[in-house]
């Protein structure tokens, strides 16, 4: 039963105002799994959820629910519930009535409603909040009410659209753990949308990376992190040094003027490839033992490690090391064969530069503008 496909999207395309937002999407979602749709703002994540919930109809393609097409089934007849991006709680109803909303529609007897709402309030840690006005709750509490309101209907699938985006960091971390626990306990399939890669990696069974209206990669968090299929995924998930390289032979990759042993094979001789090396996989060694040699141009203390920018033949690498080196030092770098990940060239190649313009400040700025775009 574990492998049963609850939802399938077949050749789904959707355009708004002549602009293609989703382009020929094919995917299936297994029963009881926690799948995350991950991608930059505006890539069509919300649109995909709305298609599954029934608020949008696809221009092309079929959506299957437990094997049956549901393109023409209205939202209120789908066994799918949504936790909306901005919660959308009913302002004319108190906490109890908001959560009881779905059960009242099913005309359940009053004492059953009471009991189930009580259990739900306990599950989301809101005991005693029954009579509260939803508009006077904090963001985190509203969030919990929204989750309870959806979960109480025991949907087969719960859709969550960036449910934690509005919460502060601490609360967000706590809620991540709670959501994951709720999902395990209830056995409901979660389709979770986020643009936060850390969140995606830490919560999901399966991560699906979307960009430019297409699925870039589907896999477990470790697969996605360790084996990104192209430069976009490598760049979007975690930090990475993405370099131009050549496969001179099986298990031999040449980049930055050095030929490395690696674990990849099956490329054509001298095929041009993208190479990914994660910052934490690079070892700092004395110059004479280094496979690569370069000059340190910047060092930032990060608590657990130092983030070191090293200039190697004009390409700025980022490496992470627990040992301090000083700016201006001449150091050697050593990379293990299994730390080198080789990817075929794609249209995303060369879109991502080195770390020469990198600064935390810039990253924060771009995060902010992403939030404003929501």
């Amino acid at each position: 039963m574990k492998q049963e496909k609850v939802i399938q999207l077949q050749n789904i395309s959707k355009s708004f105002d002549g602009e293609k937002i989703l382009n020929n999407i094919n995917l299936y979602i297994r029963d009881k799994e926690f799948i995350t749709l991950l991608g930059p703002s505006g890539c069509g994540k919300t649109t995909m959820l709305r298609l599954i919930a029934g608020f949008e109809t696809p221009d092309e393609g079929t959506i299957l629910f437990e094997g049956k097409p549901i393109n023409d089934v209205p939202p209120y007849q789908r066994s799918v519930n949504t936790v909306f991006q901005k919660y959308a709680l009913f302002p004319h109803l108190n906490v109890f009535e908001n959560i009881a909303f779905g059960l009242r529609l099913k005309k359940l007897p009053e004492e059953q409603i009471r009991k189930q709402v009580k259990d739900m309030l306990a599950l989301v840690n809101l005991k005693g909040f029954e009579r509260r006005n939803v508009e006077r709750l904090s963001g985190g509490q509203q969030q919990r009410v929204a989750i309870a309101r959806a979960l109480i209907n025991h949907p087969k699938v719960l859709l969550l659209d960036e449910p934690l985006a509005a919460l502060d960091l601490k609360l967000r971390k706590d809620m991540q753990v709670e959501l994951k626990n709720m999902q395990k306990r209830t056995g409901i399939t979660f389709i979770y949308v986020t643009h936060d890669q850390e969140e995606a990696l830490s919560m999901s069974d399966t991560v699906m990376v979307i960009a430019e209206g297409e699925i870039q990669q589907i896999g477990t968090p470790t697969d996605i992190y360790n084996e990104p299929v192209n430069a976009f995924v490598a760049d979007f998930i975690g930090e990475s040094n993405i370099l131009d390289g050549v496969m001179t032979a099986d298990y031999k990759a040449t980049f930055s003027g050095h030929t490395f042993d690696c674990v990849d094979s099956g490329f054509e001789k001298n095929e041009k490839v993208d190479i990914v090396v994660r910052p934490e996989d690079v070892d700092v060694v004395p110059c004479e033992r280094g496979m690569l040699v370069g000059d340190v141009t910047g060092v930032t203390f990060k608590g657990v490690h130092y983030e070191i920018i090293v200039d190697i033949r004009g390409f700025k690498w980022m490496i992470q090391s627990t040992d301090y080196v000083a700016p201006g030092d001449h150091i050697g770098l050593s990379i293990d064969p299994d730390a080198i990940h080789v990817m075929k060239k794609s249209r995303f190649s060369n879109m991502f530069g080195d770390y020469s313009s990198f600064s935390d400040e810039l990253e924060k700025l771009s995060d902010l503008s992403e939030e404003e775009n929501e």
């Binding site: 939202p75 519930n81 949504t82 909306f84 009913f90 909303f101």
Partner: protein, 274 residues
């Protein structure tokens, strides 16, 4: 409290003078006349004389209630449909609703008469088409029709303004939780439009209960509403004081009902009620 500067006080003076002159003073005059005899001595007689008009008063309340309810029954669906339309269509429809309001009530009522009168446009048309003419002007129905026709915009506009500002995500949320379109209407849109309904009800009821022109013209003189009574009392210097006392009592009753309505709408939006 911060002391206001002389300049600020002078700036607000015209406003104050205006209010005293045109709002407070007339009210005081009404109260004064209500409790005095023509020679200026204090009396309760005018108030006591109200009992003579109790029947008219009840009749007026009934007529006003009926036309208010009809306005709600027509106005709510109308406002709802308008708010479903595209932004452009909404603008045009709202314009059409407001258009008659820019015309004088007298003119509108006269044109209604011209249409509905026994020899009027409608009956001419009916006879040409071979139907029997209908007697409309002079019936209670005509008076109610006149009120509904004249006051309907006051119902539609506040309701439309509330519905069109509703958060559409709430509607999607209700859909998502299992509401079909009808239930979305009854469980979410209707309760959330209560403030609009309340203000529509008051805005129709108050002019309906005090109207006198509509009943005189469309009622063909067969009906007397409390507004007509007041008007008649004021036309005669002897009964001037009785007119004032009826006005005063009406005003107090209307204020009380407004207060009740407001209380009701406050507690409604405050968040109980399933």
């Amino acid at each position: 409290m911060k002391k206001r500067t002389l300049l600020e006080r002078m700036a607000s003076a015209p406003h104050l003078v205006w209010m005293v002159l045109f709002i407070v003073a007339p009210l005081l005059f009404v109260a004064y006349y209500a409790f005095t005899t023509p020679d200026g001595s204090f009396t309760f007689e005018n108030i006591a004389a109200l009992s003579n008009h109790a029947e008219t008063f009840l009749f007026s309340v009934c007529m006003a209630l009926i036309s208010t309810v009809i306005c709600l029954l027509i106005g709510y669906p109308l406002a709802y449909c308008i708010s479903r339309a595209s932004a452009r269509a909404q603008k045009i429809l709202i314009m059409l609703i407001m258009l008659p309001m820019w015309m004088n009530l007298l003119i509108r009522t006269y044109s209604m008469m011209a249409i509905l009168d026994d020899g009027g446009f409608l009956n001419n048309l009916l006879m040409r088409l071979g139907f029997a003419p209908v007697h409309i002007v002079g019936t209670a129905g005509a008076v109610i029709f006149g009120m509904v026709y004249n006051f309907l915009p006051y119902m539609v506009l506040p309701i439309h303004s509330v519905i069109s500002k509703l958060d559409w995500r709430l509607i999607e949320a209700a859909n998502d939780l299992g509401c079909n379109n009808f239930r979305v209407l009854t469980r979410v849109i209707l309760p959330l439009s209560v403030p609009g309904i309340i203000s529509g009800l008051t805005m129709v009821f108050v002019p309906s209960i005090s109207t006198f022109y509509i009943s005189q013209k469309l009622g063909g003189g067969t009906f007397e509403l409390i507004g007509d009574t007041i008007e008649r009392q004021f036309q005669n210097p002897v009964t001037y004081h009785v007119g004032a006392s009826i006005s005063l009592v009406m005003m107090i009753l209307i204020l009380i009902s407004l207060a009740i309505m407001n209380r009701f709408s406050d507690s409604e939006t405050g968040g109980m009620i399933a």
